[in-house]
Symmetry: C2
Subunit: 227 residues, 2 copies
Amino acid sequence: MKHAKRREVVRTGTTVEEMVRAIAHLIVTGELHPADKLDETSLAARFDVSRTPVREALRQLGAMGLVERKPNCSAVVARVTESYLHSMFEAMAELEAICARLAAARMTIRERSSLEAEHRASFRLVQEGAEEAYSVHNIRFHSLLYFGAHNEHIGELVTQTRMRLAPFRRAQFHLPERLSRSFQEHETIVAAILRADADAAGAAAYSHVSIVSTAAAALIANPSTCP
Amino acid sequence: MKHAKRREVVRTGTTVEEMVRAIAHLIVTGELHPADKLDETSLAARFDVSRTPVREALRQLGAMGLVERKPNCSAVVARVTESYLHSMFEAMAELEAICARLAAARMTIRERSSLEAEHRASFRLVQEGAEEAYSVHNIRFHSLLYFGAHNEHIGELVTQTRMRLAPFRRAQFHLPERLSRSFQEHETIVAAILRADADAAGAAAYSHVSIVSTAAAALIANPSTCP
DNA sequence: GATGATTTGTACGTATGTATA
DNA sequence: ATATACATACGTACAAATCAT
C-alpha cells in the first residue's frame, strides 16, 4: 500500500499538530527518555505519515526546548546539564512565587473560592494516599494559581518551564510523606492568598518548589557523539 | 535557471537556520509589522530557496511566538491584544527584577567591574544624545545583568520575552530625556548591585522597565479574518 | 453560490553529510 | 583509512483548502 490512509477518522487539525502533541506526550509522560533518538523515518512509519510533518513537528518541539536538533544528526529528546536543570528549578520557583504574589493581590472572590475548594478536596486524596489522583489535583491547583495571577505571558512561561521539567521530575515522585508535605505547603499558600498577603504567598510558593535536582544521572547530558 | 545557486559562499548553518534568523530580524527590527502576511511562496522566492525550509522556519518562529500560524492560512507576524502586551511588559519587569536580585548576590568581582565599566562608558553617549549607540549599549548592559544572574534558563526566558516585545517597543523610542532617565535608572541598579543589595537592585530593575503600553493602535490585534 | 486562481498541506526523490564496519 | 550504509536537508509534485471574482 503506497499511500497512507488516515489514522483517525476525525482529524483534530493538521498532521503536524497531531505529531507535536503525540511526540510531546511521549516525552513529558516519560515514555521517551532524555537522549532517546527521534528518528524521522521511524517516527513517520510509527504514525503512518510522511517524513515532512514529522520534520516540522521536530522543528517546533526543538523551539519549545523538548528536543535537541543538530544538523545532519538524529534529533534526540532534550537532555540538560545538571547546572541547567538546577536553573530550571530555580526559575520555576521564582515564577511560581510571582504567580502566587500576583494571585494574592488579584484573584477574584470566585477564584479564591475555587482555589480553596480544590485544595480542600485534595485532603481526602492525601488520606487515601492516592498518588495518581493527587498528581492530577496538583496540576489543577497550580493552574488555578497561574490563572489567578491574571498575566497571560507569565502563565505561558511557567507552563513552558513546567513542561520542560516534566521528564526530570519523575524521580521525586515516591518520597515518603510527599503527599502530606505537599498538602501542608499548599495550605500555607492558600491561607496567604485568602488573606491577600502577597509576600507570604510568594515566599510559600517559592519554598514549595523543590530545588533539589533529583533527576537520575542517566538523564543528565553526556556530551553527544554527534557534532 | 532551475536549480537555485547558493545565496552565500559561506554557509552559516542550514538553510532553515538562516531563514529563522533572517525572518526574525525582519520582525524585531520592524521591517515587518505585526499582522503582516508571511507568504511561504513569496518568502521562498525572496530568499531564493524552496518552500520547505521556509515552512520549517515559520513553524519554529511560531513556537517562539514571533509569528502566528493557523491551518490553511498565511502565517502573519504575531499580533497581541493590549492586555497581552501589558502582561509581557509586566513579565519583563518581573524577570529583570529577578535577574538584578540574583546578579547582586552572585556576580563575580570581574562581572561587577564589567557592568560598572559598561555603564560608565555610556555616560558619553547620553551627553552626545547618541540614540543609536545608546541602544546598543543598553542591550549589552541588560545582557550583562542576565548573564550575571547565573541562571541560564531565566536568561532564556527574559531574552525570549525581550524579543517578542521588540516589535512593540519602537514607539517609546524618542521620548524627551529618555537617555538621561535611562542612565540614571541604570545608575541606581549598578549602585545596588555593587553593594550587593539584592532587594534594592530588584526594585530598581523592576521600575526601570516601562510598564506603559506605548504601542501604536495599529499594531494591536484586530481579530484576523482567516478562520 | 459556483468556479478559477492562489496558497497551504503532504508525499516523495535525490544529494549530501555522518556514522560504522 | 576507505568504503558502505543510513539519516537528514532540500527541492519538487500533487492534493486539498481558501479566497476572489
